[in-house]
Symmetry: C2
Subunit: 187 residues, 2 copies
DNA sequence: ATGCTAATGCAACTAAAGTTGTGTTAGGGT
DNA sequence: ACCCTAACACAACTTTAGTTGCATTAGCAT
């Protein structure tokens, strides 16, 4: 995956087909229903090819996520920390509705820690929490948020409950819940 | 499972052996590494028996959890809401370190919702959040907590970040983090 | 255009998961 | 003590997942 010697048309087409099929199937039956054979059938790509290029379902998920990494959540910074955090929280909730995000999360939780997936997960959250913490720091600089609070703890106080509600309790989050979270986190 | 016509010695012994093996294997390799064949080998119970009585790994997990349901978290009520919530939060964190809890959570997240597991998960959380909310309500009655706050939201504001840190970020929670959560949740 | 070979397709194989039919063991009632 | 049968063990089977050797296709360089 790291050294693509021939990134021409066909190689890219099979990649697109496989990742697309993985996405579709995940949306339909979830991580538990994902299998390489199913992806092969859906994508029209022979299973041998998939086994040789990726080797496992988790590796496909890894690739799929990395390929969509550029479309990450954009963190606003209007100067109003409370509004920015609310917008950030909403984008987190929306992103969690993405079946692929769910699948990757489930994969990370299911495995013994395949290693690469754990690493991906770590980097993803480091990045996202770090960026969100910048909003908190800006708010502290402006005096909108208590300077004694740990920025990353504030972020987890917002993201954690959203994650918990959507993924564990499996109920949708409404606007008022998010606002309550933000208010509680910044006191 | 519902109508046990002969709950005598042998039946109970195989049940204990199977659930015990399931627990041990889960602790070692996690949910992803669980298979009925492995459980059969470890427990010494023939795989045919397991397939006939349970039918799937998820059903075994279901049974294992139900059989330990009585050893649930005990919710303290000393009258000091803050202290009680802190104790509750710590027990949640400790419980999450239980590999079986992780496995059930992963199973619930992995599947399309096998139905029975989703139901188990729902009942489990309804019960736990409901009991924890009682602590909050008591605190509100005593004037220790703002009466305008939604008790179940307060509970999720405490449990959610703990869950998120342990399960997603996969880092341990320390005492100060828990205290910060409780303080934030009850303002 | 032509040749080289990475990438894919195909079929046959091994391994593991899951199922079914039949005989055996041991609760629990009489 | 005896019998009945639920629960279990065993073996053979079917199905699905994963692997390997070889033929074919199609990027890409010359």
């Amino acid at each position: 995956m790291s050294t693509i010697t021939r990134p021409g048309g066909r190689t890219e087409r099979t990649r697109t087909a496989v990742l697309g099929a993985a996405f579709t199937i995940t949306a339909e039956v979830g991580y538990g229903g994902l299998s390489i054979e199913a992806i092969a059938e859906r994508s029209g790509i022979h299973k041998t090819t998939i086994y040789r290029r990726w080797g496992s379902v988790d590796a496909i998920l890894f690739d799929a996520i990395v390929s969509r990494a550029e479309s990450a959540v954009l963190l606003p910074s209007t100067g109003d920390a409370r509004a920015d955090l609310n917008a950030m929280a909403r984008s987190v909730a929306e992103n969690l509705e993405d079946p692929m995000s769910r699948a990757v999360a489930a994969a990370a939780l299911s495995g013994t820690g395949d290693g690469s997936l754990k690493e991906l997960s770590d980097r993803f959250w480091d990045d996202r929490i770090g960026k969100a913490a910048e909003i908190v720091k800006a708010g502290q600089k402006e005096g909108q948020i208590d300077a004694k609070l740990d920025p990353s703890v504030v972020v987890v106080e917002i993201i954690g409950p959203i994650w918990f509600r959507v993924m564990v309790l499996q109920v949708l989050v409404d606007r008022s819940f998010i606002e309550a979270l933000v208010d509680g986190a910044i006191r």
